[in-house]
Symmetry: C2
DNA sequence: TATCAGATTAGATATAATCTAATTTTTCAT
DNA sequence: ATGAAAAATTAGATTATATCTAATCTGATA
């Protein structure tokens, strides 16, 4: 996605394309490692334009509300973010906690009986196990 | 699950059945609303035996490591916990953030091509939308 | 150009989780 | 039973993460 397309997608969502907001969005589009807010804050401040911590959090919140960014469901304490590009599932490593993308495929919906009166918007799969780097270690508590 | 069964399951996992640890486990088994650590801490301290915050966190960590409890993947800042009884999926409400159980059903695994060298342990579905209480509100930002 | 809503900022505050070091409890060999 | 060692608990300090506050800045537009 080029600069102009980012600008457009922000404005279509009713958000001004400020340089700080642009920087957050562009960083998320370039990095699909599900960075935390702190990582995004650090990355954005490595170059101009600078952005305060509050602004980084504000912009992340705005982008999530606008539907351009998603907050990834994972269990660490720091929220992780993801530009909503191609749909994908997630793989969370038991060993190192990293969150990786798994190619999207459709998932059977729950029956209307178990869904009840709830309104379903989307569903996503979370896989757990050991990532490529952590796979060889059988017990993470044993260093080697 | 009765008191004796809880005691046994703790001891089978190599954990002593202390009164504080028992209280955490018993509370999780009685409440499937995915309480946060703070809620568990408060609940356990409403009755005897008392438990310090550190102990509550320690015991939650031990129970998770032992595989008796799971930390739920959700995006709030406070971790939520879940006694591993019957398997189930999760429904997270866009409106109020509550996490509800959805009856378990099997899910197709990803192809070995997209899995690569990763070792898969389990998978779980996360549904999003509006829970029964929040379903009527079409736009959460508009009060009514 | 004046106005005003939206955006940004530094720093204070709030919230969640973990660490520390002292103490208590339990286990177990004797 | 007794004492030593291991495990668990504790209060309070500390760290990590996120949000709030109030002042200032920016840019669109009347």
């Amino acid at each position: 996605m080029d600069a102009e397309a980012i600008k457009l997608s922000l404005e279509e969502s009713g958000l001004r394309c400020t340089s700080q907001r642009y920087a957050v969005m562009a960083f998320l589009l370039e990095h699909n490692q599900h960075p935390t807010a702190a990582e995004i804050f650090a990355a954005v401040n490595r170059l101009d334009p600078r952005s305060s911590r509050a602004t980084t959090y504000n912009n992340l919140r705005d982008l999530v509300q606008a539907g351009l960014v998603r907050e990834v469901a994972a269990e660490g304490r720091a929220a992780r973010f993801d530009a909503k590009g191609m749909r994908h599932h997630h793989f969370i490593c038991d060993g190192c906690g990293s969150v990786e993308d798994i190619e999207w495929y459709d998932v059977p919906k729950p029956g209307s009986r178990s869904l009840g009166k709830r309104i379903l918007r989307e569903c996503e799969l979370i896989f757990r196990g050991r990532c490529t780097r952590c796979a060889p270690r059988h017990d993470p508590r044993k260093a080697f």
